[in-house]
């Protein structure tokens, strides 16, 4: 069974004359346990795909199936227990007035867990934060620590699928590597399925098995990571993207 299946997904913003299609009939299938990358330049609609899956953008048509279940306009609790998301900017994704403890206990409470204290300790340990971080406010944490808290929040309902919206692009390079390693470890440990959005081909090459390339809201090519490394591309845009990535490394 595929974890996420998207067929002919079109997502738009605005109505009538002002309507712009951010994603145009995109189709992709992500198998369970897979790590799938979505790459493209900014404005190519890759984050919008994630937001449509989670229901944050209600204006979409087409078919989205999660674990075989087709999704409607509304998402229910079981959906949020299956799919979670980590946001791009850890400075914006934590409530400034809530301690780590408050954030995690609220989430655990929403999902009906009883053993909140034990679970918070375990979640913090899982993401590499000690119990000393439990009662801190976001402004007392560094960017990397905040992102770890955000990952702990996403892991709290024990999801099967994690959507990662450029989880490292707002962090320092050294911290980026730590977070990526953490995500790799967590995937192995919890048998998670990842859909990762990134404009950084290096990150995607490190994390993902398969990659879809997006341009102007369309998926122009889908390829394995080995093909990507060896520059075996069919679409000229993919080639262009890879070449510019290589140039920037040199």
């Amino acid at each position: 069974m595929s974890a996420v299946e998207i067929r002919d997904l079109t997502v738009w913003f605005g109505d009538g004359d002002e309507r712009t299609d951010a994603v145009k009939s995109a189709t992709m299938v992500v198998e369970e346990g897979e790590s799938f990358g979505l790459v493209g330049e900014s404005g190519s609609g890759k984050s919008t795909v994630l937001r449509a899956i989670t229901g944050l953008v209600p204006t979409w048509e087409g078919t989205i199936r999660v674990m075989g279940q087709p999704l409607g306009r509304r998402r229910d609790r079981t959906f949020y227990k299956t799919v979670q998301m980590v946001f791009q900017d850890p400075y914006a994704s934590l409530h400034p007035r809530m301690t780590v403890d408050a954030v995690l206990s609220e989430v655990l409470g929403l999902h009906g867990f009883r053993d909140v204290d034990a679970r918070i300790d375990k979640l913090l340990r899982d993401v590499g934060l000690g119990p000393g971080f439990r009662f801190r406010y976001p402004h007392q944490l560094s960017g990397g620590q905040r992102q770890r808290v955000a990952i702990a929040r996403a892991l709290a309902p024990e999801p099967r699928i994690l959507l990662l919206d450029e989880p490292t692009s707002a962090l320092d390079v050294s911290v980026q590597a730590e977070i990526l390693n953490l995500l790799t470890d967590l995937r192995a440990e919890h048998k998670l399925t990842y859909i990762m959005v990134s404009h950084d081909l290096g990150v995607v090459g490190h994390m993902c098995g398969r990659v879809a390339v997006m341009q102007h809201g369309e998926i122009v090519e889908e390829l394995g990571v080995t093909d990507m490394r060896e520059m075996r591309t069919r679409h000229p845009y993919t080639k262009h993207l890879l070449e510019s990535a290589l140039r920037s490394v040199r």
């Binding site: 944050l56 946001f87 929403l110």
Partner: protein, 305 residues
């Protein structure tokens, strides 16, 4: 009492790694207090307010005379006359004692308005901002209608309809004071609702009521508190204005605005009758403004660093 106790309490409050919810909350309050204490103008404001609150509480002990006792033989005596620190008014009542009892009325008005108006504004503003669409349009047009009237005129109309008196004055001031709070709360909500942390809690399955009350209100409340303290002066002046026009507190009541109103007739020959309560209103307004300024620095959620 050992000397080490305060320092361990301090260490407990300033701990890098709080170990309980209670400690984390106490620590953040203490940090706020330290910031506020650094602003000496705010501390002056706080001191004046504390002084006024104490005066209001202990008015029966501090007063030298009965504030309602008339002594027509000693009317309009200057400050310092035979134990009347601030002199006597047109009916020979001791102004100092009336001022003390008047502090009770002023603080009563301020507290009631401060509890009603921002709360109404907060509820209407956050609902309008979060729900959006038609709800937003309807609620904000109602707000506009209230804003379009000059405040004192609207309050006058309410008092005229409800009848003169201190409770109705409070109600009228509250009804005219909430629209700005609704506007602020709505504007804050619009920026907050599109933020990632609201999206994150929505993805945990939180409903709109929980999001508005648990996640949006705490962020709006700080700017509303600041706005309330800055508006306090205006509220007191409106209350005094209503008193002055004879629509607020009714005579013998020693409300400060009403006292100025009584002194107006003698302002050229007996300046103190109107000036002393005027100075009291000035002091309380200034104190609230100074405190509000400092609270803004403490409560601003963006300046949490």
């Amino acid at each position: 009492m050992s000397m080490t106790e305060p320092s361990t309490l301090r260490a407990w409050l300033l701990a890098e790694e709080p170990t309980s919810r209670r400690q984390a909350r106490a620590a953040s309050l203490y940090q706020g207090w330290l910031t506020l204490r650094g602003n000496w103008l705010s501390m002056i404001g706080l001191a004046i307010l504390a002084f006024l609150v104490l005066c209001a509480i202990f008015a029966p002990l501090l007063a030298t005379d009965n504030p309602f006792a008339q002594d027509l033989a000693n009317r309009l005596k200057p400050p310092g006359w035979e134990g009347h620190i601030f002199g006597t008014d047109s009916l020979g009542r001791d102004i100092y004692s009336r001022l003390l009892y008047g502090a009770r009325i002023s603080l009563y008005i301020v507290l009631l308005v401060a509890m009603v108006a921002p709360l109404v504004g907060l509820i209407i503003g956050t609902i309008a901002g979060y729900v959006g669409g038609w709800t937003d349009t309807i609620l904000m047009r109602i707000t506009d209608i209230f804003l379009a009237f000059p405040r004192l005129v609207l309050a006058l109309a309410f008092v005229a309809a409800l009848g003169a008196g201190i409770e109705n004055a409070v109600l009228a001031i509250s009804l005219t004071a909430w629209p700005p709070y609704a506007r602020i709360a709505r504007a804050e909500t619009l920026t907050i609702r599109s933020s990632d942390y609201i999206a994150a809690i929505r993805l945990q399955g939180a409903g709109p009521v929980r999001i508005v009350t648990r996640h949006i209100w705490p962020l709006c409340i700080s700017s509303l508190i600041v706005r309330v303290t800055l508006d306090m002066a205006g509220i007191i002046l409106t209350a005094a204005g209503l008193g002055f026009l004879g629509l607020g507190a009714q005579p013998p009541s020693p409300e400060w605005g009403a006292m100025i109103s009584e002194g107006r007739k003698y302002i050229l020959d007996y300046w103190w009758v109107a000036t002393i309560p005027g100075l009291a209103i000035f002091a309380i307004s200034l104190a609230f403004n100074l405190l509000g300024d400092g609270l803004r620095d403490v409560l601003d959620p963006k300046g949490g660093e």
